[in-house]
Amino acid sequence: MPVKVHWGSPGHWAIRLVWLAATIAVVVYIPTRTQPGTINDMTTALELAAVAMALNLVMGYGGLISLGHSAYFGLGAYTMAVLVDHYGWTQGWTLYIAAVFGFVVGCLTSLPALRLKGVYLALTSIALAVLFPQLVKWQKLEWLTDGARGIDDLQYDEIPVWPILGELDGRRGRAVWMYWLAVIVAVLSYLVCRGIVKSRVGRSLVAIRDNETAAAVMGVNRARTQTIVYGLSAAMTAVAGALFGIGLNGVNPDLRYFTLIGSITFVVIMVIGGGATLWGPIVGAFLYVLVESRTRKWGADSSGVVGALFGWLNSSPATLILAVVFIVLMFVAPFGIVGLLKRLAAKVIVIVPNPAGTRSNVPPVEEGLDPSIDEPFLSASPEETP
């Protein structure tokens, strides 16, 4: 029999505070207690989390299938690279321009979404993913993009000094600096997503997804809602891409995250974490990077358990292991990791929502699903189910 905790009660607030404290502890633990390699991996996870959150807005909450987010990711990275390399900008300032570019391009490329649905929309978004690397390599744009050669040497020459972080230098200092930038971007992305989902725009988006005609009858402006959300999603993705380019110290049109493979990776991350949940993309990104970084290190190692299981392969088992893990996950957790955790947590504790229109701890008329959307794993709102 699970423990019942009322929404807004001291117990509920205690759970929230414990969750917040645990999150902050993990975020602080990584740059202070782990190796630079781990910090870099976690930075990548945060960048991918930001992209997956952005994609989640469009796909999870909006129901619009997008396989073109790699283009926004690449656009952000190239905006940063061109400004830093050709025009001598400081890396940090380019993130704002990447966001603006991402928003404008996102709004423009959302136009097909106003006419198309489902697989047809997916196909047009694939075209965007395929087009981006070709556009970068286009001879007439080489003066700007340096074509297939890419643009190198994009990292901070001198790591900026922030009093709270102290003076940072060397590999560790660079890793810590990029990590905190990624934390800021990921937190902002989370807040933007949370704000949208809880706002009128977010509820309109879900309404359009669930029943477009009913939403229109209720006065929802579909074109405006989808265009704004698409634009914001592209802007968030572009900022993450710009950050990724700085960390990698170079951009190149053939980088996997700038191609269709990247788009598919973003979708995978969102789905394994849990679509239409705020924490799903974050969990998915960390799980993806964790599995991917472990398997790539095993590489040519043919000893131990890896050797016994995959010794028959002539090549590294990295890709195979990654694929198997995700296939198993989809069987075990069809609604993503967050969906699975919610189900498990419901066996221990249940947050009982307040009746509509009340703000106090009045016992609910009917126990059901929690209307909140910011509780990580302990409840499931109708809005969070795919």
Partner: protein
């Protein structure tokens, strides 16, 4: 009987190899003179000058899984492992155990920093044989900032010879500047007044290769009349591109495909030749055409392809070469390790391992003993002849004056009936400071 013969051959080969590695190749690189690295700018100068004891941890990042390029390069990893195992078995670095860890970056530069950072955290002392231009560039700043030697880069971009800016990075592949310079010279000498068509993979590798060819072609007075590209990762046969080339019908084709694309290009070219009565002479990057195993997969369609010996290595698919020492010893050792199927494609990795061990030996013999600083000093002053290097060539580097080991190019032509290459002309040397 077979296994006994193999063991006997392996022992014989090992003896010859050990002799060649430990004794024959060196020429006073351990002396105090010559170029020395400045460790003042290192993030941790003490670590760069601290003695390495007991175990030398060697790291690398290579494509071990993934697409067609990974499949083509993966044997290099096994060749590198084979040499390190061989060096340990024969105690080639006395008093030290070599520990090699290769991470899988799937030929994706976005993954290489993750692999390399993880290996640095694990305490790797030196990196060797990282494959790919972008992959190496992605970690070059980090390794130079940390003062960890990035030895024997398996990419031919001339940027891996920037000694002043990146002293801790040394290249092993023949620079594309020399490889394509040699092709341009060969075309001008043997096919004067021919028109040239270009076909290349539209990646950084392909573009830098072709840029170097264009520069050399201009110098040699060659006329380029057609240019076609194929995208990296596009595994469809390049039918449209080859048809476009056929329309222009250049007399010579200079081609830079990659991985499985090498074979599909040759197959498409054969179709176009048959349909258009067009017989171009084909020069192909040694990254794929340097291996008889890869060209062999294209069968008759690879007959007559011109290429060059990658890193100046011998053609182990030539029975005459394979029967002579020390190449026979190499083949015996590879077979003894169960790698008889990759003696051609694994040679690059074996060679990278052998040069790495030679550098370690020189560093060990230096007055400072074995440190990360002495390793890069030894690498930049090396004068060495590896087992698989051709006669008349030598690997020598001399600080900033001479930043590349391999500056000699031997053009060869593949003969499908024999299954190996025939040398064409003399060695073309770009060596700025010939070995003494």
């Amino acid at each position: 009987m077979t296994s006994r013969s193999t063991r006997v051959l392996a022992v014989a080969g090992a003896s010859v190899l050990a002799f060649s590695v430990a004794g024959l190749g060196h020429a006073g690189a351990g002396s105090e003179e010559g170029w020395t690295v400045d460790t003042e700018d290192c993030s941790d100068p003490d670590r760069a000058n601290a003695p390495i004891e007991g175990t030398i941890r060697i790291g690398s990042s290579m494509p071990l899984s993934g697409g067609a390029a990974a499949a083509a390069f993966e044997p290099a990893a096994r060749g590198l492992e084979a040499y390190i195992a061989y060096a340990n078995d024969n105690d080639l670095v006395p008093g030290y155990e070599l520990e090699l860890t290769i991470g899988d970056d799937q030929y994706d530069p976005a993954l290489t920093p993750g692999v390399v950072n993880g290996l640095i955290d694990d305490g790797v002392d030196v990196f060797a044989g990282i494959i790919g231009t972008q992959n190496n560039l992605a970690v070059r700043d980090t390794l130079n900032e940390e003062c960890i030697p990035q030895l024997n880069v398996l990419a031919g971009d001339p940027r891996f010879g920037e000694v002043e800016e990146y002293p801790w990075t040394t290249g092993l592949l023949t620079s594309y500047e020399y490889e394509y310079g040699a092709y341009a010279q060969d075309i001008a000498a043997n096919f004067p007044d021919s028109t040239v068509g270009l076909f290349y993979v539209n990646s950084e590798f392909g573009n830098i290769s072709i840029d170097n060819f264009k520069a050399a072609a201009e110098e040699a007075g060659l006329e380029i009349v057609a240019e076609e590209t194929v995208e990296l990762g596009d595994e469809a046969p390049p039918q449209a591109q080859v048809s476009s080339l056929a329309e222009e019908a250049p007399e010579v084709l200079v081609t830079v495909p990659l991985g499985a694309g090498c074979i599909s290009f040759l197959n498409e070219l054969a179709n176009a030749k048959a349909a258009n009565e067009w017989e171009p002479v084909v020069y192909m990057t040694n990254t794929c055409a340097g291996s008889a195993l890869i060209l062999g997969a294209a069968g008759e369609n690879a007959d007559g392809v011109y290429t060059s010996a990658a890193m100046g290595l011998v053609d182990v698919s030539n029975p005459e070469v394979a029967a002579t020492e020390p190449v026979a010893g190499y083949i015996a050792e590879m077979e003894a390790q169960g790698l008889g199927d990759i003696i051609t494609t694994g040679g690059a990795g074996w060679n990278a391992g052998e040069v790495t061990v030679a550098v370690l030996l020189d560093a060990l013999e230096s007055p400072d003993g074995l440190t990360q600083a002495s390793i890069i000093n030894a690498a930049r002053n090396l004068d060495f002849r590896p087992t698989l290097l051709r006669e008349g060539m030598n690997y020598s580097m001399n600080g900033e004056e001479d930043a590349f080991y391999s500056q000699d190019v031997q053009v060869g032509q593949y003969n499908v009936a024999d299954g190996f290459y025939t040398d064409i002309g003399e060695i073309i040397s770009f060596e700025s400071t010939p070995a003494e």
